[in-house]
Symmetry: C2
Subunit: 356 residues, 2 copies
């Protein structure tokens, strides 16, 4: 019997993990223990999850339908793009740079281009071979930086190892950094009295889900689990900008369950399947689950299914509102990418006074 | 009898403020209520503080002697400057730009120059009249940006109202931003895997006090009270980079006392005299008090005395370690400015491999 439980960098000492420890122990004594930390969106990896749950009653939480909300956002964007075309004769343009042939990256890039098409945004793509040099990628970024028809530049991550992500992301001019990953945008997000030109798409999508389902953020205690540059950190900064009191829980937090139980709003973005159990939550908490983790499920055709960072069945009994996986945050990310591209084009054509 | 209590933007509903409310109420029913939010270092303003305290026993906390630690840091810097002079024949240079004739700003600038002298750092100063235009200030920044003998540029804040602080701070090249106020430096501080070239002096001083007094930060719960760009926000980001679990309490937090009671480490940087009472603290907490607030005291020659954001007498009974005011964080700020200038010069002369 293990004396500590690991998952995606999280080490939960039995005493600190409290009531959830026994179930964590069951959960994590299987192959999940061997899983490296995986991002909120990742290629299929296989692991087993126990199928039984101590929570057997009907769920009480309202399901936040990310798919429907994203659809609504896209319709609004399509209407604005159409209006822009009428008023200035131009539409927004998004350039996507893909290096290599990762299947998941190719799928994401295809989805993004398709989404652009559907709302009337022009997409410009370049698919580069795996062995492209850093300088060659930088040249493509420069080309798109200089192209007035391009209002957003997205470099699909991860990049091959011989290319510095920091150098490439930092080379995108901040006026076209629709991913919001540039340190200048993160800095402005962190600072009082500053407004970033762009907010990263997934965190922006999380806040949009809260706002569009009538969740008040101001004055609430929010706990963000995970502190990645693309989700956790900007989500925490964004919640604080909206006047929540924010705590960031991470792999070095000895008592994540205890800290999370203080939260009115939980954003889980850590990439560990079902880490957040029902008893990590305060009754009535609102739960936004960013995780999309494939776990082995031989009963399905593909042999796996997707679960979030939150144990959905258990959380449904405790939370007041919750996002499902899939169909929660996922669809919002691309919708927010379109939204950022539209905003950028509006700024370029003088259709807005200032940053959003 | 007021039903809510205000101070520096903080509104504490009676129920949320808990046991501290009655004393808060006594404290804040006087002229403090009328005080606008003031920075951690400010010109004298006058207000009354009650002199009695429910805590009458001897203090148990160890006093963190910021003056002695700052002195030690300065000696280390002096030794390094001396070594630099021997090895490359150069010393670090700090340029200070002062606009206007604010008495407090003039005092700070004088202190900074004197501190430079004492450790062998060259200081370059320019005192500009109140009606200097923004372009003129920008020209001086540019001149110092281009001067290889200058390794740090400090624009004394606040600037006159007709000059944009954002424009001036943003014009300092990030390699010389020894104040660490540039959004690129704040962004890098917030991001995983990035190291800012400089960390703002006061937050850096707070962490230095913790480290030099043997306080373990990793895995601890830290609460930062206040979210200013110059102290609260960078302090929170820095604590998180050191692997604390961090919560930021601010003026929209409905239950600051309750949240602060979870903290192993408290950094108070809100500019409200004695806001943090003894019962806001968990027994054994470490308290770093950044506030320097003048309060009316007719028994003193000047008619006022300085108090922190923490009620020192009460906190001493509960905390394990605490900084006094004055003599705590204050002396560390200038020491860290010297430290940042030294680091910058070391980078310029190739005496270090990377950012600190």
């Amino acid at each position: 019997m293990a004396t500590s439980v690991r998952g995606g960098g999280f080490v939960l000492p039995p005493a600190a993990a409290g009531r959830s420890f026994s179930s964590q122990s069951n959960l994590l004594s299987n192959r999940l223990l061997l899983l490296p930390k995986i991002g909120p969106v990742c290629a299929p990896r296989f692991c087993k999850l126990r199928s039984s749950s101590p929570f057997a009653v009907e769920p009480s939480a309202t399901i936040i339908d990310g798919k429907a909300i994203a659809q609504q956002v896209r319709q609004e964007i399509a209407a604005e793009v159409s209006k822009m075309k009428e008023s200035v004769g131009k539409v927004p343009g998004l350039a996507v740079i893909l290096v290599g042939t990762r299947k998941d990256s190719e799928t994401y890039v295809r989805s993004k281009k398709k989404a652009c098409e559907e709302v009337g945004i022009d997409s410009y793509g370049v698919n580069l071979p795996e062995d492209t040099t850093q300088d060659e990628v930088l040249n493509f970024v420069k080309k798109f930086n200089d192209d007035p028809a391009v209002h957003g530049i997205l470099v699909q991550l991860p990049l091959p190892k011989h290319i510095s992500e920091e150098a490439i992301v930092g080379s995108v001019c901040i006026e076209k950094d629709v991913d919001g990953f540039h340190p200048m945008n993160i800095g402005a997000l962190a600072m009082q009295g500053r407004t970033p030109l762009f907010v990263s798409c997934t965190p922006k999508g999380c806040i949009e889900l809260l706002v569009r389902t009538g969740v008040v953020i101001k004055g609430k205690h929010a706990v963000v689990i995970g502190r990645s540059n693309i989700v956790g950190t900007p989500a925490a900064l964004l919640l604080q900008k909206q006047n929540a009191t924010v705590t960031v829980v991470h792999s070095k937090t000895p008592n994540p369950a205890e800290v999370t139980r203080n939260a009115d709003i939980v954003i889980a973005a850590v990439g560990v399947p079902e880490l957040v159990r029902g008893d990590w939550l305060k009754p009535g908490a609102v739960v936004i689950d960013v995780g999309i983790n494939p776990v082995e499920d031989l009963s399905t055709k593909k042999g796996y299914r997707l679960v979030g960072d939150v144990c959905y069945k258990e959380a449904c009994q405790v939370a007041s509102k919750i996002t499902p996986v899939p169909g929660g945050v996922g669809p919002m990310t691309i919708a927010m990418l379109l939204s950022n591209t539209l905003e950028s084009a509006k700024r370029a054509y003088g259709l807005v006074d200032a940053a959003p």
